[in-house]
Symmetry: C2
Subunit: 351 residues, 2 copies
DNA sequence: TCGAAGTTTCAAAACGTTTTGAAGCAGACT
DNA sequence: AGTCTGCTTCAAAACGTTTTGAAACTTCGA
C-alpha cells in the first residue's frame, strides 16, 4: 500500500508538496501536480483515511440509531431509508454506523456511540415534540440532522415535508369537492409529523367552516388493522352521521379503511372519498389500490440525499440555516375521491 | 476531551505507562494502575479510536452489507438480525457499519468499504453456493464470519443451523407417523440453506424408502402467496394423488399452505399434516397459527451473539476452527401434525 | 546588479495512540 | 563494594496524513 512518503521519495519531493498536489491546493506548480497525480496513479496510492481522520479530527462516519419498537415489528420505512441513506453517504465517502436502541432513555444509545467517539454526527429520525435527543446533542455540540420537521424556528438542519400543509391541502381539496363531514385517521400524535398533520387538519377545517366532531378524529400507530377498525367505527354510523370523506395518515391505514368501506357496502368514491398520504414505499403502491388512491405524495427516498448532504455540510461547518428544507407534498388526484353525494351543495362552493 | 497526555501530565507519569496501565499490561505497579484508572475516570478519558486504529491497524468496527432485493422489499429477517447483532457487538465495544449493496457485482460493496479501511471484518449473510464474497475476502485476508452454514469443511468461522437435519428430522418425524407421500415447499435453492434442506429431505425420504414425485417439490423465494399457490397445486390432486404431509420452508409459506388447505376444505391435521421451519420472528408466531404449527425451530436471534463473538475473536487472532457452530433445530410438536389417515399403516412402524 | 514581490517547495510539528529498547531502582547474592 | 536479578518506568519512534512557518527559487522593476 503506497503512502505519501513513497510518492515523495519516488519524485524527490516533500510529502507536504505531494499532499497539497493531491488535495488541489492552488500554490503547487501545474507541472509538479501532473507528476504527482501520475505517480499516485502509477503506485496505486490510496489515502489512508484513518491517518487523515486523526489529523483532521473527523472520522468520516455518521451514526444513526433506530428505536426498537415495543412490538418488535420492523418499521415499514426503515429498510427503504437505510438504502437511500447509505447510498447518498457513500457518494461522499462517508459510512453509516447503525445501532438499535433498546433502552428506555432515548439518549443512552447516542451517549454510548459518542463515547466510542467514532462518528462525526447523527441522523435523527422520527422526531417527537421537544425531542430529548435534540437537546442532548445540542448540549454536546454534536452535529446532527433531523429527518422530519419538528418546529419552524430551529437552529439545526432538517429535511421534512410540511405536514401541516399535507392535511391542509387535503382538506382544501375535499371541501372544494363539497365535503364537509371529513374524518381523520391520523398517526400517533406523540410523533411530530402526526401532531403537525392534526393541526393542519383542524386549521383547514376551521378555515372552511366545517365542524369536527371528536369521533371523526382518531390517532394511533399506523397499521392496516387500525385503519380497518377506526374506519369501521366511523362509517357504521352508530355514533352519529358518517363522514363523506376520510383522510388517512398512510396508504397502510387507507388499505384498512377501504376494506371497512367494502365490508359496509359503501362505494368508494361514490359514498366515501378517501385521501391518503403516500410515502411512496415500494410495498404499498397507492396507484395499485382499487380504486387508485388520491394521495398527498412525497417519496421518503427523496429525503435521503438531502439529509446526507445536509449533515455532511453541517459537519464541514456550514451553518444550519441554509440546510433546512421543508418540501410541500404533491397532491395527486386519482379515483378514490369524488364530489360529495346528495347534499344539494354545489361542488364548488364560494369560499 | 482528555488524552493520555493529559493523564500523564496530571500524574507525572509518561504516556507509555498510562497506556499500559489502562490496557491491563502486567508490568505496571498495582498502585500506579489504580492512580491511572482513577485519573482516567476523573478526567473523563476516552481512547481516541482513530489514533488507536492508526497505530494498531484495528478500528473496532465491523461491516455488514445487505443486498438490496430486486423487488425492493425489506427482508423479513433483516431488522431482527440487525437488532441482535448491534446489541451483541456493543457488548464488546464494537460498532456496526452498514451498507446496502445495489451493485450487480456481489463483491463491489465490500471493496468500497475496504478502501475506506474502516472495518476490521465483515458479517456475511445469506450465503450462496461458492459465494463470491467468501473468495474475495479470503483472497484479501479480511476476517469474516458467515451467518448460515455453507459447507462442512471450510476454514472460516460460521454460525448456522444444520439445514440438512432440519428436513431430515421433519421427514423422520412424519414417516414415523406413517406418512409416505410428503411434499416440500422449499426456499430458493440458490441460497445454501435451501439447497441443504432439499438434500436433507431427499436423503431422509430415500432412507425411509419413500418415493418423491417431482411435483412434490417446489422451490421459490419464501412468501405467503408462494405457499398458497404451490400448496394449492399439490393439494388439488390434478397432477396425481395429493400428499398427506407437507414440509414448509418457513412459517410464512405455511400460512399460505394452510389457507390453500382451508380453501380446498382439507382439514389440518386430519387430512394434511404440516411441519414448518420456524425462525421465531416476532411477526409470525407459529404457536398462534390455527392449528398451532408443528415446527423445527431455531430462533434467528440466537445466532447474533455467537456471530458477533466469533467475528471479534477471529479478528483477535483466534483460529477459525474453534469458531464454527452448527446447531440442530429443535422439533416442536404441536397440532398441525397427526398420523396419516386411512392407510392401515401403524403410526409407529418398526424402523 | 540589487532588492522586492511573488511563486513554489520544504522541514517540522501536530493529531493520540501503541510499542520498542533502554534505563532506573530496588533487593539479593557474591 | 560490585554485580546480577526482577520489577517498574521512561523517552522516543512509529502509524500516515495535514498544516504551519520558513526557505528557496523566479521574475520584475529600478
Amino acid at each position: 500500500m503506497a503512502t505519501l512518503k513513497d510518492i515523495s521519495a519516488e519524485l524527490g519531493l516533500s510529502v507536504a508538496t505531494v499532499s497539497r498536489a493531491l488535495n488541489g491546493f492552488p500554490e503547487v506548480n501545474a507541472r509538479t501536480r501532473d507528476r504527482v497525480t501520475d505517480a499516485a496513479k502509477r503506485l496505486g496510492y490510496r489515502p489512508n483515511r484513518v491517518a487523515q481522520r486523526l489529523v483532521t479530527g473527523r472520522s468520516g462516519m455518521v451514526g444513526m440509531i433506530v428505536k426498537l419498537k415495543a412490538d418488535m415489528t420492523a418499521d415499514q420505512t426503515f429498510f427503504d431509508v437505510i438504502t437511500g441513506l447509505t447510498a447518498a453517504l457513500a457518494a461522499r465517502d462517508v459510512d453509516l454506523v447503525l445501532a438499535v436502541d433498546q433502552h428506555a432513555d432515548p439518549t443512552a444509545a447516542y451517549d454510548r456511540m459518542l463515547e466510542r467517539n467514532v462518528v462525526d454526527g447523527f441522523i435523527l429520525n422520527a422526531p417527537v415534540q421537544d425531542d430529548a435527543r435534540v437537546a442532548f446533542l445540542q448540549d454536546r455540540g454534536i452535529p446532527f440532522v433531523v429527518h422530519g420537521q419538528t418546529a419552524a424556528e430551529v437552529d439545526y438542519p432538517f429535511y421534512g415535508i410540511d405536514n401541516w400543509a399535507v392535511n391542509a391541502d387535503a382538506v382544501a381539496f375535499l371541501t372544494a369537492l363539497g365535503h364537509r363531514r371529513i374524518a381523520l385517521l391520523n398517526g400517533d400524535v406523540r410523533w411530530s409529523y402526526a401532531a403537525d398533520r392534526l393541526t393542519g387538519f383542524r386549521d383547514a377545517m376551521a378555515e372552511a367552516g366545517c365542524p369536527v366532531p371528536e369521533a371523526f378524529i382518531s390517532t394511533e400507530r399506523p397499521s392496516e388493522s387500525y385503519g380497518y377498525t377506526a374506519a369501521l367505527a366511523m362509517l357504521s354510523g352508530r355514533a352519529g352521521p358518517r363522514p363523506t370523506a376520510m383522510i388517512c395518515g398512510s396508504t397502510l391505514i387507507a388499505a384498512g379503511a377501504l376494506q371497512a368501506a367494502r365490508d359496509l357496502s359503501l362505494g368508494v368514491p361514490v359514498d366515501l372519498s378517501v385521501v391518503a398520504h403516500d410515502d411512496a414505499l415500494p410495498q404499498l403502491r397507492a396507484i395499485a389500490f382499487d380504486p387508485a388512491l388520491t394521495v398527498t405524495r412525497s417519496p421518503l427516498r427523496d429525503a435521503c440525499k438531502p439529509l446526507a448532504d445536509a449533515l455532511i455540510d453541517h459537519i464541514g461547518g456550514a451553518p444550519a440555516k441554509g440546510l433546512q428544507t421543508l418540501v410541500r407534498a404533491e397532491l395527486i388526484v386519482r379515483n378514490s375521491t369524488a364530489p360529495v353525494p346528495d347534499t344539494g351543495v354545489s361542488p364548488w362552493p364560494s369560499t
